[in-house]
């Protein structure tokens, strides 16, 4: 109930806010815990809007002082379903009293861009700040890392581009060199023979003893790799305490 009232208030605020309603922008920031100053919020709003304009994926910050009886991941999902259902999003949820956080990606593009490895990168970027209670730093670190990941997803990483171009240029010369060496080998056919296989008398091979003696066995086992995130049908998520 508390969650419903909270979302309704946010929705009403957005609906009555002339700028927001004019541009039909859903709430990219919901800082109920009040971690951001108004100037930080303005700066963040511009940045988050810029990310959407550039990459078509919403980066969203949602903070609460206290969790409302559901998990951090469920809180992020509720927020998504209420405001962004069907859209591509990455949501950072922070509940500072419970010291819990969640990173959840929704929509096809959102989930493709933020798979488990990328969510782990975002987590690595925000956790040091959260542990020191530097919430605004954590939020801006989330924004920066999300932007980097979306840039790599959209345009490819610089390292990847260099690697592809380098291989595309070097590989043909390697292929040509190998082909040339193969052709060159045809220019010299006078080579020594190391075997006398042509001179084995047909049917002369006689095996008088052929034993395969079992000595011992060694059995090793290693744990199957398990995904560290919960990836349901609707989202890729990562959550924990800080």
């Amino acid at each position: 109930m508390k969650k419903f009232i909270s979302f309704s208030l946010i929705f009403l605020l957005c609906a009555t806010f002339p700028f927001a309603s004019a541009n039909d922008v859903p709430p990219l920031i919901s800082d109920e815990a009040g971690h951001l100053t108004s100037s930080e919020e303005t700066k963040l709003q511009e940045k988050l809007q810029g990310i959407y304009d550039t990459y078509g994926v919403y980066a969203i910050v949602f903070t609460e002082e206290e969790m409302s009886g559901i998990s951090a991941e469920d809180s992020a999902e509720d927020f998504y379903n209420y405001f962004f259902s069907g859209k591509d999003c990455i949501i950072l949820y922070i509940a500072d009293y419970d010291r819990e956080y969640a990173l959840s990606a929704f929509g096809k593009k959102g989930k493709d861009a933020f798979s488990d490895d990328e969510l782990a990168d975002v987590e690595d970027a925000i956790l040091p700040h959260l542990k020191k209670d530097n919430f605004s730093d954590a939020i801006f670190a989330f924004t920066d890392e999300a932007e980097n990941i979306l840039d790599v997803y959209t345009n490819g990483s610089t390292g990847y581009k260099i690697a592809v171009i380098s291989i595309a240029i070097i590989l043909p010369f390697i292929i040509a060199l190998i082909a040339m060496l193969v052709q060159l080998s045809k220019m010299k056919t006078a080579v020594k023979q190391h075997y006398a296989t042509n001179y084995i008398r047909p049917g002369s091979m006689n095996i008088s003893r052929s034993l395969n003696l079992f000595l011992y066995s060694v059995i090793t086992k290693k744990p199957r790799p398990k995904p560290s995130n919960s990836s349901s049908g609707s989202s890729n998520s990562r959550s924990g305490k800080f």
């Binding site: 040509a176 052709q183 001179y199 066995s217 059995i219």
Partner: protein, 360 residues
């Protein structure tokens, strides 16, 4: 006095002790248990394969030969490479077949050693030249100027001396091998590796392994023109030499044996390795190879020889006088070589850049 047989664990090398309960042998070090009969066989096989290989060939006694049937022979010596060749008196050729020197000297016939058999030339000079020219098509970087008809016509037919080796080869071999099986359940991936010792004993027969018995003939060329078809081999007769040159051996049997041993050994190891199929890794541990029924014979085999000088370098070629197989080392046209490189690199570059475009 009875001797006490001590067996060692094939896994760790520790002494094995008899286990009365299982009536087998037990290793107190690695806890493995073995059947007594298995360990006896293993010990027996390791003893045999650990013995030193013996390559005992019978000795060969050379026999002098005097031409008969009214064929007059002369000796030809090359002042350039020192080759001493015999040929019938009517030979018009004055080109050394080994080095291409044209100042070959005709001298008095001094006799040759009588071969056990001879494979007569089956293809004539015209066919050999045609085979050589057909071989050009398979050589991608051959300079156009190299195809000099006049030089090619100087091809000379030579009976090259070979030692022929026959033997029945007995082998005892041991290998270490393993086989891996992988399976999994919901929590773990399991890898089971079974270790084995493989014992193989048996015999393998070889016949007519040729080893070049002429110092002047390049071993690589003479081995590369193999194989010859020995069903065409005939008892030696001087009439076969008519119209051709014949070299006499100047590499002793003892020197040639080393080459025959190496080829017999390599082929025996390869043949027995094929019997170890079914294992993922097989590593030869010990081998013991010995011969019986060994036989050495002296024979003359037909080879068309040709030397072509191109850009101040002499290029040698040999054509099997029976099968027409051509071997040699051709000159390389650098312009053709780099043109080929550029062509392949250009096509590949276009393809890889197109792929890269779609990947970026």
């Amino acid at each position: 006095m009875d001797t006490i047989q001590n067996y060692k664990c094939p896994c760790c090398g520790a002494p094995l002790v008899f286990d009365a309960g299982s009536q087998g042998l037990h290793c107190e070090s690695c806890e493995n248990k073995f059947d007594l009969d298995t360990i006896r066989q293993l010990d027996d096989a390791e003893r045999l394969s650990g013995e030193e290989s013996k390559f005992d060939w019978e000795s060969y006694t050379p026999r002098d030969f005097t031409p008969v049937n009214g064929v007059d022979f002369s000796n030809y010596s090359c002042p350039s490479c020192g080759a001493e060749i015999s040929g019938d008196d009517t030979m018009g050729s004055t080109i050394c077949p080994y080095c291409g020197n044209s100042t070959i000297v005709k001298g008095q016939f001094e006799g040759v050693l009588r071969p056990d058999y001879i494979i007569p030339f089956k293809i004539d000079k015209k066919t050999a030249i045609a085979a050589f020219e057909a071989d050009f098509k398979k050589r991608p970087f051959l300079p156009d100027l190299f195809r000099d008809k006049k030089k090619i016509s100087e091809m000379a037919g030579v009976y090259v001396p070979f030692w022929m080796f026959d033997c029945d080869c007995n082998a005892n071999l041991t290998y270490r091998a393993n086989r891996t099986h992988i399976w999994s359940d919901s929590d773990y991936i399991y890898t089971k590796t079974d270790f084995y010792k493989l014992l193989r004993s048996g015999s393998l027969g070889f016949e007519n392994i040729p080893v070049d018995a002429s110092k002047k003939a390049d071993d690589a060329y003479m081995e590369a023109i193999e194989p010859f078809d020995y069903s065409d081999a005939m008892d030696f007769g001087s009439a076969y030499l008519s119209g051709f040159l014949a070299d006499k051996y100047d590499v002793s049997v003892e020197e040639s044996i080393l080459r025959a041993n190496a080829r017999v050994r390599n082929s025996t190891l390869a043949a027995f390795l094929e019997t170890t199929a079914g294992f993922q890794n097989v590593c030869a541990e010990r081998d013991n190879i010995s011969f019986n029924n060994s036989k050495i014979r002296y024979s003359l085999l037909p080879v068309w020889m040709l030397n072509i000088k191109y850009m101040d370098k002499m290029y040698k070629f040999a054509v099997n006088g029976q099968t027409g197989k051509v071997v040699g080392e051709y000159p390389v046209d650098k312009k053709k070589k780099w043109k080929f490189f550029a062509k392949v690199a250009g096509i590949s570059l276009a393809v890889t850049l197109a792929i890269a475009y779609f990947m970026l």
